[in-house]
Symmetry: none
Subunit: 414 residues, 2 copies
C-alpha cells in the first residue's frame, strides 16, 4: 500500500509556518509499513488542491491531507474535495450540535463561520476530533481512501492516533522493516568501502541509504516483504555484519544519538566526566546536558574563552601558552589535567581551536582545532582540520570531542 | 513568476529526517516576491523524480531541487535530470580537479564514488559550492529554469545566498520590502495590544506578520509596490513608531539575533561578561561564543551541574544549598558572585532550574528556573515558570538569561 500526503496552506508556501505535520505523519505510516511515495504542499486555492488530489489518487492508495478545515474563509479543502468527488454539500446537524455544546461550555457564541464548518461533502465518513471543532473526514473513491484532517498539529495527531493509524494498520499486508546504524567521525566513502562486500551480498528487497551530517553518517537498512519475522531476522543479520565490520566507528542504533550513547557508557562504567572548552564555548557540555539523566555522570565544565582563564582556572602554564599558543596539543593536554583537578572527574575532554572567521595564521589557519581526551595517566590527542565556517567548525569540534571521549573510555576504562 | 520546490530523499518520506530546506527556500523566494505554488517531496527513485519534474515544469517557471547529489550510489538526481532533459552525461574535469585539490589539502584520497560525482548532464551551468564537493546545477529547458542543489542544508544555503537568490531577484519586477523587528521575552498578544493602533493605521499594501519562537517574537513588516524608495521610507516610518512603542522589548532588527545584540552592547560599554550555568549546561555560553568577535567581551563560563561544583568553584554556601536548594533565588544570586570573582568579569548571569522530565516536586515542579543577572553591587532575579519539555525548558532559560543580561546592562551600566 502506498500513501501520499497533501499539506494545504499558503502560510507554508511562503515559509511563515514550518510544516511539521508531513514528517510526523510519514513516521507513523512508516512504522506500520505503509510507504509514502510523495508529499505535496499546495496553496489554499481550489484548483491547486484538486490538482494535488488528481496527482495523489493516480500514484497512491491512501491520501492523507491536513489543513483547510477551519471556519475562516481561506479554508476551502472541503469544497475542493466535494468538487473532486463530484458530490454536493449538506448541513450536518450532529456536527452543529457538538460545536454548540462545546461553545456553551466556554460561554462563547457561534459565528456564521462556524455554520460553514458544519457543511459537509455528501458521502463523508466523519472522524471524531477530540481536540477541536472540525471533524476529520474519510472518503472512498474507486480504490482510493482520502482522509482529510485539520492542520493544527495536536488536533491532527489526536485523530491519527485514535483512529487513522489503527484503521490503516488493519489494511496493510506488506511489511517494512528499518534498522539504522549510527556512526561518528568517519567519512561516507570510507564507510561505503569498508562495507561494500556486505552491501553487494544483500538481496534486492533490502537496501542501504547513507544519511550524512556533521561528523556523522547514519546507515539505514530497509527491507520489504510478506513475512515480518523473516524480514527482521534477515536485516538484523546484515546489520550485525556491518556493525562487526565497522567496530568502534558505530556508536549506536536507530534513535540513539552520540550524547545518549556516551551517557550509557559512562553510567555503566561508573565514571564522572567533565569538559574544558575554548572554541566550542560550552557546546560539548550543552549536548551532554541535553539528555535527561546526564547528572549521573556529568559534573560540570569550564569554558575558558580567554588565556587568562585557561591559566588561572585550568592551570595551563603561561610558558605553554606563550611557547605553543592557546591552540596547541600541549595546551589541550594541560586543559584536560586542569579540568580533572578542578572538577574532580575521572575523564575529561578539552578543545581549543580557531573557529573563525578571524584569527587564522598561515601555520594555524581557521579550522585548526586541537582536541584531547584523557585521564591522569593516559591521553589521546587529535588535530581536527575543519573548514572556514564558524558554526560548522564549532559543530564539528563538538561532535569529535564527544566521540573522542567515547573512544577513550571504551579503550582505557575497564 | 512562479516557483516549485522539489525535495528528493527517502529519509524524508519515512519521517527519519525533517525537511527544513523547503521552508527556508520558500522564505527566501517570498522575500524577493516569487510565489511558491507547490512543494513536492519524492523518493530517491528515478521515475518519481522525473514525474515530479514533469509536474513542476507544467505549473512553475522556476524549479528548485535539493537532495540526491552526493557521491554514494543512492544519489540519482543527476541521472533523473539528464533523462528528463534528454541529454547525455559527461565527465567534468574541472569539478574533478577541484575535488582532488580539496582532498589533497585534507590528506584524503578519492574513491571511485567521487569520480561519479564528476559526471554531469550535458548543458549544465555549474554553480560553485563553497561548502562541499557537489556543485549546484542550473538547466534551462524551454521557458523553465531548473536549479538542483545538494540536500545538506548549509551547502544549499551557501549556494542560494551567494548565487541563486540574486539571480532570481534580477528576474522579478515588482518590489518587495521587508523589515523585521526582533523582540525578546514578551508574549505575542501583549505585543499585539501595545502596537494595535499603529498596525490599524497602516495602508493595505503593508502588512505585519508575527513570527513567534521560544522567548522571542519577530514582527515582520512587508510591503509591495512599484516605487522601491517610497515603499522603504513608508515601512521604516512604521517600524520607527513600533520600536518607540515597544522600548526595551526590542533588541534588534532583521538578522540581528539576541547574542549579537548583546555583544555590541557589551563591547560599546567595554564590559566583560561571564555565565554560571546549571540546568542550561553551557547553552548560554555556547550562544555567546557562536558569534564571531565574542572573545572581546566574553571571558568564559562555569558549568556547575552538581552541588559540589556550585560550592567548590562558585563558592555557593553549603547552608544555602541545604536550606534553599540548588534551584532558588539565593543560589543563583551566590552563583553570580562566584562567577564574578572566579572569572573576574564585570557582569554575570546565573541559571539554576529543573529542566525535567524528572526532578520535580510539588513546590518546585519541572520547569521551575531561577535566573540572576548582576554585578557586585546590583542584581536582578527572575523566576521563569516554563513547561514540561526538557529541550524547550533549556532553550527558554537560555533565551531569558541572555535577555536579562542585556536588560541589566542597559539599565545599570553607563
Amino acid at each position: 500500500m502506498k500513501a501520499c500526503i497533501i499539506i494545504v496552506g499558503d502560510e507554508i508556501l511562503i515559509g511563515q509556518v514550518t510544516d511539521t505535520n508531513s514528517g510526523w505523519i510519514a513516521q507513523q505510516l512508516f512504522s506500520i509499513g505503509i510507504s509514502v511515495v510523495s508529499i505535496m504542499t499546495v496553496s489554499d486555492k481550489l484548483d491547486d488542491i484538486q490538482d494535488a488530489l488528481r496527482k495523489a489518487t493516480s500514484c497512491a492508495d491512501i491520501i492523507l491531507m491536513t489543513g483547510g478545515l477551519g471556519p475562516t474563509k481561506d479554508d476551502i479543502t472541503k469544497i475542493a474535495l466535494a468538487d473532486f468527488l463530484g458530490v454536493g454539500m449538506y448541513f450536518d446537524t450532529a456536527v452543529y450540535d457538538r460545536i454548540k455544546t462545546m461553545f456553551a461550555k466556554l460561554n462563547r457564541t457561534l459565528s456564521p463561520h462556524h455554520h460553514n464548518q458544519c457543511n459537509m461533502p455528501e458521502g463523508v465518513e466523519l472522524i471524531h476530533n477530540s481536540m477541536g471543532t472540525a471533524p476529520g473526514m474519510l472518503f472512498r473513491k474507486d480504490d482510493n481512501i482520502i482522509i482529510s484532517m485539520p492542520g493544527v498539529p495536536f488536533e491532527m495527531k489526536a485523530i491519527m492516533n485514535k483512529y487513522v493509524v489503527s484503521m490503516l494498520q488493519g489494511m496493510t499486508k506488506q511489511h517494512l522493516f528499518h534498522y539504522t546504524i549510527n556512526t561518528a567521525c568517519t567519512g561516507e566513502t570510507i564507510i561505503e568501502n569498508l562495507i561494500s562486500a556486505i552491501v553487494d551480498s544483500m538481496p534486492s528487497h533490502i537496501s542501504v541509504a547513507y544519511l550524512p551530517a556533521i561528523g556523522e553518517v547514519k546507515l539505514r537498512l530497509t527491507g520489504q516483504g510478506m513475512d515480518y519475522d523473516l524480514l527482521k531476522s534477515e536485516i538484523m543479520a546484515f546489520a550485525g555484519k556491518i556493525t562487526d565490520r565497522l567496530g568502534n566507528i558505530v556508536y549506536g542504533f536507530n534513535d540513539t544519538n552520540l550524547e545518549t550513547a556516551l551517557m550509557h557508557l559512562c553510567i555503566n562504567k561508573k565514571i564522572k566526566v567533565t569538559t574544558a572548552e575554548s572554541c566550542t564555548g560550552g557546546s560539548v557540555a550543552a549536548r551532554i546536558v541535553s539528555i535527561s539523566g546526564s547528572s549521573d555522570y556529568f559534573k560540570g565544565s569550564i569554558v575558558a574563552y580567554s588565556n587568562e582563564i585557561k591559566h588561572r582556572i585550568l592551570h595551563v602554564g603561561n610558558d605553554t601558552l606563550e611557547q605553543y599558543g592557546a591552540v596547541s596539543e600541549r595546551t589541550v593536554t594541560e586543559m584536560v589535567d586542569g579540568a580533572l583537578d578542578g572538577l574532580q572527574a575521572d575523564v575529561a575532554v578539552a578543545i581549543s581551536g580557531i573557529a573563525g572567521p578571524g584569527g587564522g595564521t598561515p601555520e594555524k589557519p581557521v579550522g585548526t582545532i586541537w582536541i584531547c581526551a584523557g585521564n591522569k595517566s593516559q591521553k589521546d590527542t587529535f588535530l581536527l582540520k575543519s573548514g572556514k565556517n564558524r558554526q560548522l567548525n564549532i559543530q564539528a569540534a563538538t561532535q569529535y570531542a564527544l566521540n573522542m571521549l567515547r573512544l577513550f573510555i571504551i579503550k582505557n576504562i575497564v
